[in-house]
Symmetry: C2
Subunit: 305 residues, 2 copies
């Protein structure tokens, strides 16, 4: 089948993950893609990331609909529904445009969102791994739904992003993300609580020594993940709430991930580390430094008898 070139992909929004995916697609094959977005009312940081990536600001949703073949929704979980609501009425008049929700949301949330698209021009996706750009850590985009293969094909020109179609049902890609993130980010939430507690009681040295002996892989993981997490804590809190909903929906306890959300909210809102920005880190860049600041931010400074 002959395809029009360039293929135009709108990325909403070009934040940490979105701008990197746009950049990698643009550099994957010359003149194959145009990446557009609407930066109206976006932060200065997002505007800067977007411009650097070579993403074109078309300024309105109407213009996106005029130009786009595909719309990628790459957002914090809390905005997934509202952005889909913004675009769905247009896509119900322009059924050639496929909308891909790549967000970390519960399967029931993505199924609910998909019903907004009356022609079924909707694909469920998720991204596992870091923003693309390095050959060392390659993320994978999982896709599910009737049109999933069409999205997978867009990534065939780059070796910086892997892609996998896992089924025909909306919800499958999102479920996989929830299960995966519950482990990767859930372990970091637990480790953060455990390390803060050990530090609070002056036991961090003996705790770390025990972990190095009996759980060396876990120690290595938390040693990296705890200092790297604070600038992402606010976003992760919303993702933890989606995981809680996923588990609750099939009759499992929702509390573990409501608690993980509270743990990340504490880091984002109650410690000075929550204000750090990925590119401009100043504080908390080693495990000990991060724990020192987190422990000082506890609302109780002494324990009850």
């Amino acid at each position: 089948m002959a395809e029009k070139t360039p293929i135009t992909i709108a990325i909403m929004t070009p934040g940490d993950m979105g701008h990197s995916i746009g950049q990698v697609l643009l550099s994957s094959i010359k003149n194959k893609f145009r990446i557009i977005t609407n930066l109206t009312d976006r932060s200065e940081r997002t505007q800067k990331l977007s411009n650097l990536a070579g993403i074109i600001d078309v300024k309105t949703d109407e213009e996106i609909i005029q130009q786009a073949d595909f719309i990628f929704s790459i957002l914090v979980p809390s905005q997934a529904n509202s952005v889909a609501q913004r675009f769905a009425p247009f896509l119900n008049k322009n059924k050639h445009i496929i909308y891909v929700d790549m967000n970390a949301i519960a399967p029931q949330t993505v199924r609910s969102i998909s019903t907004l698209f009356s022609y079924g021009n909707f694909v469920d996706g998720c991204i596992i791994g870091p923003p693309p750009g390095s050959h060392e850590h390659i993320p994978i985009v999982y896709l599910s739904g009737e049109h999933a293969q069409k999205i997978a094909d867009l990534f065939q020109f780059t070796d910086l992003i892997n892609v996998s179609v896992i089924g025909n049902e909306i919800g499958q890609a999102s479920t996989l993300k929830m299960c995966y993130a519950s482990l990767s980010k859930g372990i970091t939430a637990i480790a953060t609580q455990a390390c803060i507690t050990a530090k609070f009681f002056g036991l961090e040295e003996v705790f770390f020594n025990e972990l190095k002996q009996s759980m060396p892989n876990i120690f290595e993981k938390l040693n990296k993940s705890i200092p790297h997490m604070p600038p992402k804590a606010a976003r992760w809190a919303g993702e933890m709430e989606q995981i809680a909903k996923t588990f609750e929906n099939i009759g499992l306890s929702e509390k573990m991930f409501q608690g993980a959300a509270e743990t990340y909210q504490f880091i984002a809102e109650k410690t000075p580390l929550g204000n750090e920005i990925i590119e401009e880190r100043k504080r908390g860049q080693t495990l000990n430094d991060a724990l020192e600041i987190m422990t000082q931010s506890l609302k109780k400074k002494t324990y009850d008898e």
Copy 2:
């Protein structure tokens, strides 16, 4: 200092962990120790484990007080306080006997228990690792409190149990246990939820493949820990509640470990795996088999839209 031989240690109670510690102490050096207990009203299984280990049933608490130099409390968390209440009045008249709480309980719980012992003849302890008996997996007993070294000295004749005195304060050993168990058993609780969810949606193969690629150590851990956990799930639920209290007490979220408690309660009470006994496992001995049974036990059999 000359010590009387044999040294008499009462173990309350000689369950999975307690009888193994008794057995290892008895075999550590000939005629150095007598291990006693009170098996009145104990289960047939505990009586059998105790007899096989060479532990002597002296039948009453009064007789334990007559004979013991040390009392080791090795119990499910919910019984730690009531057994201490049973023995404390006797120990306040027999201050030469040292009571060691080795249970997985919150630091504020063990500090509260310690106040029952008016002569301070009380040591805080915890056990990290499996029941002793194998040179491959050697547990470590951590101890804290004024008399901790006296307890550490009892283990000098065996290389099947390591021992470490970590401080002079009651609560330090228990805090360390809470931090450690929050990682070891918290990860298993998360993994159990994640794997049940993947299985429920028919995504276990793609989920396990992703984990094998990007988190091989975690996959290896859950592949062992999920099938091994069910006979211990009821005991672990109580331990998770103690971890929740530990974190809450310094101002962190209590929900993650209330949720972990609910996860283990589900396995113990709502699945047929909860009735399995460690020595006589019949069902759920592989990851896939365990997940199949757990998924069938979900209270919701279909998901809500």
